[in-house]
């Protein structure tokens, strides 16, 4: 009990804090990347979590950047390890309580694990909204192309971007 009290943070938090896993960024414009940005600078915690999703709907890469306390950094670092290789459906089921339990967070730090839950959900939501936009061929910025099987004639329709 003594070392825990002396250091303030649990050793699992210290481990993630000193050696955070999967720190970095993914290209936020890429169609297979979803970005979650949660928290508010005024409150002391901002978390960015990005996922890359392969064609089978599996999270194939994940990166995070967090500004905040040790528990917030550890929560997001652990979250990246936890969601790697998961389907989106499984990833969005991860609860803050699981993170808090794994990292042995004290009561006052439960909010950090909640932020990590918010971050992955936000990233998944961003990815899904990107995909639903992409599936609409009539949207601005897209070009429809067709070729007649009989004559070989090619026609294309450009939907000019509105802005």
């Amino acid at each position: 009990m003594r070392p825990v009290l002396a250091r303030g943070y649990h050793e699992k938090v210290i481990s993630h804090y000193e050696k955070p896993r999967n720190v970095g960024s993914l290209p936020k414009n890429a169609p297979d990347v979803g970005t979650g940005l949660v928290g508010a600078p005024a409150c002391g915690d901002v978390m960015k979590l990005q996922i890359r999703v392969d064609e089978n709907g599996i999270i194939s890469d994940v990166k995070f950047k967090t500004f905040g306390c040790g528990s917030a950094i550890a929560s997001s670092s652990y979250m990246t390890e936890r969601v790697m290789g998961l389907s989106l459906e499984d990833a969005e089921k991860i609860k803050n309580t699981e993170i808090a339990k794994e990292l042995c967070l004290p009561p006052v730090k439960l909010h950090c694990s909640m932020l990590a839950e918010d971050a992955i959900r936000s990233a998944i939501r961003d990815y899904r909204s990107k995909r639903s936009l992409l599936s609409n061929p009539k949207q601005a910025g897209f070009i429809d192309v067709s070729q007649s099987a009989a004559t070989g004639e090619t026609v294309a329709t450009a939907h000019a971007p509105s802005a």
């Binding site: 936020k28 414009n29 169609p31 970005t35 979650g36 940005l37 949660v38 928290g39 508010a40 005024a42 409150c43 002391g44 901002v46 960015k48 064609e55 803050n96 309580t97 808090a100 004290p106 009561p107 006052v108 439960l110 909010h111 694990s113 909640m114 932020l115 918010d118 936000s122 990233a123 939501r125 961003d126 909204s129 990107k130 936009l133 992409l134 061929p137 009539k138 949207q139 601005a140 910025g141 897209f142 070009i143 429809d144 192309v145 067709s146 070729q147 007649s148 090619t154 026609v155 294309a156 329709t157 450009a158 939907h159 000019a160 971007p161 802005a163």
Partner: protein
């Protein structure tokens, strides 16, 4: 400037589209386009613009709720809660239980039942709760109800604490913080 590539069938597509769209999707687009044939202006390449991330869900600061009022209301709520909890613990007479309030942070230790932390969070004009039973929640002031409420399920701080503490103590607990007006 984006380059274009020429596929085997002679279709000109901007690189990003070729990468984004699998072959089946291109065929689907081709079928759709037959209904509305137009010439493709050569060199016209458009890239869709979109927002990159969902807005941060925590930022819910009401402009019509001045910070002085926030402090008045939250201080009154915290003080009333503290008084009710002290009375509750005195009545229960359990030495393992204790309540402490300093610099906006109320800590309620309930031995084997765990520890509650309820704190003021002035940057977003909220009261935060960490419950050993139900986890973390953030309460904002809702004037229509004169209550501190959690926006995700519209539950109030007073109701949640009354319910959970009643269960823990095996008696009807009312912290008297359900309406802020009653605390002022």
């Amino acid at each position: 400037m984006l380059q274009t590539i020429r596929s085997a069938s002679g279709l000109r597509l901007a690189r990003p589209f070729a990468r984004v769209l699998p072959r089946a999707a291109i065929h689907a687009l081709a079928r759709v386009a037959q209904d509305a044939p137009h010439a493709l202006p050569s060199g016209l390449v458009a890239v869709p613009r979109r927002s990159y991330a969902t807005p941060p869900p925590q930022i819910d600061v009401r402009d019509d709720f001045p910070i002085e009022k926030y402090h008045d209301y939250s201080d009154a709520t915290m003080e009333t809660m503290l008084e009710s909890l002290e009375n509750l613990l005195d009545g229960a007479g359990d030495s393992e239980c204790e309540v402490d309030y300093s610099s906006g942070v109320l800590t309620l230790k309930l031995g084997e039942h765990g520890t509650y932390v309820i704190n003021k969070q002035p940057p977003n004009k909220q009261i935060w709760l960490s419950s050993p039973t139900s986890g973390p929640k953030r309460y904002g002031y809702v004037p229509e109800a004169d209550q501190w409420r959690y926006s995700r399920d519209n539950s109030s701080l007073g109701e949640l604490l009354n319910t959970e503490l009643s269960q823990i103590f095996g008696q009807d607990v009312d912290l008297k913080i359900n309406k802020v007006a009653d605390c002022l």
